[in-house]
Every structure is written in C-alpha cells, then in structure tokens.
Symmetry: D2
Subunit: 227 residues, 4 copies
C-alpha cells in the first residue's frame, strides 16, 4: 500500500457499472494529476470490470472466511484476487466479522500478497487490530459515519491516539474515516499523523465524486509539500 | 424459469474466470444441442463476465437482504441483476439465511422480475417454502450432497413427497438435488415428478463438466420424448 | 397451550429476580381470579426460579439449535425443559433465526412435549409458519412493537388475514402482538379471531404490570362471556 | 481471579441440575481441601442455583452484547451477575463472537466488576486479545479440544509462546486448555508458565468428575510447593 492514501468506499451507493466506471475513471485522473494514491472499494460484482479498466488499486468491501471447493455464496480472498482486487476492507462497521475470522482472513490475504484494511470502531481496538498484522487499520467512530462531521475535526484525540496505538506494529498503516468531507478534514487528519483517509458518502453522494476526491488529494499533496 | 431444468452450482470449485467461461460455453452448446434449459449459479465476481458471454440463465449463489446505499460488503438483488443475473439460489445448505430474510429477498427478487430458487433440506419444508412464493423450491438432503448417491435413487420418497407438497402453491417449481451424478439419477428424478435437478460436485469435479451435463440433459430430453 | 391466552414477554426489562418474581406472582393471581391463561416468557437465568414459585406456564425467549454435549454457551430445548419451562418463543423480531433452525427446534420441542410460539413479522408468513407445526404463530408487525398503537386497532386486516392464514394447519393457534396496551386492544383482537395476545413493554414498563395484565384478562373473560 | 486456577467448562454435558449440583459440590470440596481455585462455567439456566449452593466462582459460558430493555432471548452481563456469576467465558471456539462485541462485552463486564475469560484458538491472537483487557486469555487449539491429547504435552510451544505474548498486558492472566486430562498435563502447563488450565470433556465425561479435578488441583499444589 502506497501512502498517504485516500480510500473511497463505494458501498452500495451506485449500482450501475457504467456510472461506477465513469466515477472510477475520473478519480483515476485526479490520482494521476496530483500524484496521490486513491484506492476504490467496490461491490464484488464490479471488481473485475473496474480493475480491468482503471489503474487504481481496487479493493473488495468484504471477504468470507471459507475455503475453496464446496462452498456456496461465499466471496473469498482467492476469488477477489482473480477478479483483479489488490485487497479488501475487513470488518467494516456495516459488516462486522468474528475475531477468529479476522485473523484467518488477514493471514490468507497476506499469503496471497494482498492488502487487508481492518476496520475498527474505537481507538482502544487499534493496537489489538495492528497486532493481527493487517496492511492498515482504518479507525471509524460509527456515530460520525455519513454525518458530514469529520473525526479529525470533531474527535482529533481519536486520530492522535490511534496514530500512537498503531505503532505497536511498525508495519501497519493507520487510516482514519467517518465524516471526512473537505480539504480541511484531510489536512487535519494528516497533521495528526494519519497515513490516509477513508470516505464514502461525502464522495458517492456528491454530484461530482471526483471533485471531492480532488479536494482530498490536494490536501495530501499540500501537506506533503509543507516544509 | 423454463422447465425441466438443470441447475449447475459452480460453488467455489473453479476460481479461474477463463476456465469458468470455458465450462459455461461448453454447457451452453449442450443446452442448445439438446434443447434443455441449463442454468449456472456462479460466484458473484463472475456473474457479469459469464452472463455477457454465455446465453444461459446465470444465477447468483446468494444475495443479502440489505438495501442500496450505506451498506458495505453486501450483494443485493439489484446488484446481481445489473451484473446480468436472472436470479439466485437462496438459503443453500452452505449459506442458510433467516426466515424473515428469505421472505424479504423473495419479494425483492420477484418485484425485479428475477428468479428465486429457495433451497431446503427436507420435504417437510417444501410446502412452507412454496408458500413464500419463490420461483422454485430446491430440496436437497444435506447428507447426500457431494456423496455421489443421488436423492432420486437412495431416497425416492423425498422426491415424490416433495412433488406433492409443492402443489400447495401451483406457480412454484420443484427441483431436486444432492448426489445427482448420472443419466439414471435424472431419469428417476423426472419420473418421480421433479421439474428439474440441481448438481454441483458431480459436474464441477469432473474432467469434462459439459459431458456430465450432457448426460443429465439427455435424460431430460429422453424423458420428454417418452410416450 | 390453553387458549385464549395472554403471553407476557419480560424481555430484558427487569433484571432483578426478586422483582421479576413479584410481578410473576401478581400476574398469577390475576390469572386465577379471572380464569384466563397467562404465560410468561422470561430470561433463561430466571426460568428455574420463576417456574418453581409460580404456577403459570413459563416460556424461554429463545432456544438454540445445538445438540447436548460439546456445545458452549447454548440454551437448548432440553435445558429449558429441565429448568421448568413449558415452551419457548422462537424467532422473535429481536432474535431472528434461520429457516432450517426454526424447523429443527420446533421438531425438538414437539418431541419433548413442549410449546413453540413461532414469531413472524407479517401475515404472509403466517401460513408458511403454521405449516412448520409450531404450537402457535405469533404475528407482530415490528413497526408497532413498543409503539402503544395496537395491531388490532391500527392494522385489523393483519389480524383477520392471519386468522384465516393459520387455518392451513388446524392444530396451530394464532396469537397477535405489537402495541397491545389496553382492554379495547384485546377485545378487538379477540373479535377478529385471535387465540390470544402477546405484550411486553405495555406490561413491563408499567408501574403496575399486573394491573395491565388484568385489563387484558378481563377483555378475554368478557369476550368469552359475550353471547 | 485468584490464580493458579482450574476452569471447568460444563458445556452441555450435564442437563440435570441435581447432578450438576452434585458435581459442583464435590469439586468445591476438592478446591477447599487442596487450596486450589476452581471455577465452573455452567449453562445460563443453572447459574443461580449453583452459585447459591456452591462457594466457587461460577461463570457463564457466553454473554450477548445487547442492552437491557427491549431485547428478547439475550443473556447479558447484568443478567448473569444478578444470577450470581462472577464472570463469563467469551468467544469460546463453540461460540465465537465478533471483534467489536468482544471489546464491548469486556468493557461491560469490567465496569460491573466481573471476570472475562477471552478464548482464542492460536498463540498469534494472545497478544491482541490481552490488549483488549480481559481478566484472562484462554488459548485452546481447537484440533485438540476433546482429544485427550493435551496442548501442554503435544504443543508445548503454544503454551510457552502464549505465556510470552500475554505479557503485552501485565494485568492479564494466561490460561491454557484443549485435551487437558491428567496430573502430568497440568504440571507441564504450569512449568511452561500458564496461570491456569481449562478443561471440559476430561472432567464432565468422567464417571467421577471431582476425581479428575482433584488430579489437576494436586498438580497445581505440588507445582506451587516445588522449590
């Protein structure tokens, strides 16, 4: 995972593959123009099409802890890799999973050379999560998700303490999300030490998703250029 | 749903989209040659690619009962429809769901004009399942799944009683599965009154999946031609 | 199950066993005085104590579909029977279970001679539920639960259609719940053909739970006496 | 939690409260005689009766992460405390729970002054688990559960590495389980640094559960007396 990074979670906001592709391509241009990494977490049915047409890292939104073979209705790490995903979100607040499955899936993703972005809802879980060895921990206070009030402004201590907590495992990145909507939200998150930001509704419910991502990417670029 | 039908559940037996496409195209030829309907239930990541290249009904293996919008990691009826699916398996023994979700999802699929194949594990559930209004009920005794011993031969009474039970809702088809592996297994299922058969391992673990489906399709054709 | 019946779901409204016993005993007096059956669905930790001290039918609020032996943390039909329960609620809107588990647990309860009260959220599920063979189907539109607006007054057609639907299995009773709070709510439910009513918050959040139950019981008695 | 400790998980091996009480009382005598702490994890329906009659720490086998009030079928920390439990097992291999629920429930138990014994299936999860702040981490390789082959003899490195890993949180105890059946199994576990052992089938499937526990307790006493 190249950082700093913006992760855009498409959730189920856009079901048309044509429009999802348009959004993805516009974001790709922003990413190139500003030299900022942007990853897209898309529905499983869209992974192949988007990853084939867009040169951004494409993530799944969830994977199941089932083995290949006689399993029906599961999406596994191998399956999303084959479809072109570079990794997946894991344990999102809208798709929590069991502790043992978190560990199993991180291990499988790792052995496949894939990224795992393990979501947690509180700073107290950042260190335990980091010790499980994901690529990144994404901390998102659920009460701010979709609220338009950003965790970095409203609850800066969550970011700064998470940044400290993640150091228990030096190889793990710390990403923050929930309410991230503006250039300032991202600047603030980067100042507090985050390796990236996650966003969903602020991007996907906008009339111009790429413009929102552009604000985020500019913040990252400006912060990088700051002396 | 055109019946009699063969439903092939790919499960997670084949993760390469190239090989999954090859298998699908070979089965498509069999279906055309013999004039027998064959539906393929494939992983969510493969629905778009296979449905775009193969003119057979493509089914998902599972859908979630979540609404569009702020949901992460879900596969909904709308999403699989957009990807090209004609319907989905539901409540497979490897992916059981809650009673209320069964009802919700059948209703959503129906309002989208899609097929729902509701799986149950025993004849006693065929009538309740049929009353929930799916396109078809697929009865599969779990102990015979993947066993090579077919429900139609080993437990014919399950088939005949299910055929009777499904009549509680005249618009619902009755499909049988579990251990269906040979021409004779299918003949027997059709004689007992089934509207189709489901198969997975017998097809997908074969060196020549299309040849196995061809045996099944021949059985259906021969039975149809029988005086 | 003797009907007409009032089922009081204690939920987690009262954690003190002393107060739960007091409430149970007061309700027992009401039941005796008016000759109306009242069953209490109590937390698993309270079943033994309440059933030992109160001669009303005591129900669990949920049971798991696990076998005896090497299972940890489960509450099974055998366990609640041994503790003194006469049956259990099943698939309550706050504890939905899988379709196959509904069937398994009803079968186990039945073979133990215990009552099963299968909850569903809509009239469309009453017939399928009845065909699974529970002692009673309890239909509760979730949007009215705890609302104080009773299903029998606000949505009488749900009651009357459920009464019709349950007849698919003559041995199954039809109970209605959600918002049942007053004498009139119960009268109306009985007029519409229900075999009983379920209540929770209207009773348990009252300063005098037994007085609320007394209103319900009077309604049942008066309706019974009506020419 | 007084350590070293033996935790006996009754699972669902014994459903008669009379026999469960007999076993509990016999184990109580062993505990007193040898001055070794023994805790019993019993079904929720038995907590009140056993804790009222036996002066050993009584644990639940699982608790749910639901709030008091309008919840049906849940067993919460408050409920088991009121019934007399001193704490609970959590996330047992036969009852895994979600990562966020682990954190929530540990916090609730802690604020109620109760013990939480967080079960994990591998040494790699010991440190993350310890950082979540339970009273103890119980590591049990599932493949050895009920096998009669003890983790301390067959996989001593799991014990020794878990003992090291738990030190990430100095206030957390390390207990080992799976296959613990004999005096020697316990001696070995204590030598490797464990603060206690967990057992289930070896005790509960024995004709004389208290005799088995006595062997375990002797091992703990002898090890304590060792120079």
């Amino acid at each position: 995972m190249r950082t700093p990074i913006v992760i855009v979670n498409f959730k189920l906001y856009e079901i048309s593959i044509a429009r999802a592709l348009d959004i993805s391509k516009s974001i790709e241009q922003v990413s190139r123009k500003l030299g900022v990494e942007v990853a897209l977490a898309v529905p499983a049915t869209m992974i192949r099409e988007i990853s084939s047409n867009v040169s951004l890292p494409i993530y799944a939104q969830h994977v199941d802890d089932d083995q290949l073979g006689a399993h029906t209705g599961s999406i596994t790490p191998e399956l999303i890799k084959e479809a072109g995903a570079r990794g997946t979100l894991l344990n999102h607040s809208e798709r929590r999973i069991r502790l043992d499955q978190v560990a199993n899936v991180i291990e499988r993703l790792s052995s496949l050379g894939m990224d795992s972005v393990l979501c947690v809802d509180r700073r107290e879980l950042v260190a335990p999560a980091a010790l499980m060895g994901p690529t990144a921990v994404l901390v998102e206070p659920p009460e701010l998700i979709g609220s338009g009030r950003s965790v970095s402004k409203v609850r800066p201590e969550i970011v700064s303490e998470s940044v400290k907590a993640v150091k228990v495992n030096q190889s793990v990145r710390l990403i923050v999300g929930a309410g991230i909507s503006t250039y300032e939200d991202v600047i603030k998150a980067m100042e507090l030490g985050a390796d990236g930001v996650g966003a969903a509704s602020a991007v996907m419910k906008s009339n111009s998703p790429a413009s929102v991502v552009e604000e985020f990417a500019k913040a990252i670029r400006d912060r990088r250029l700051a002396p």
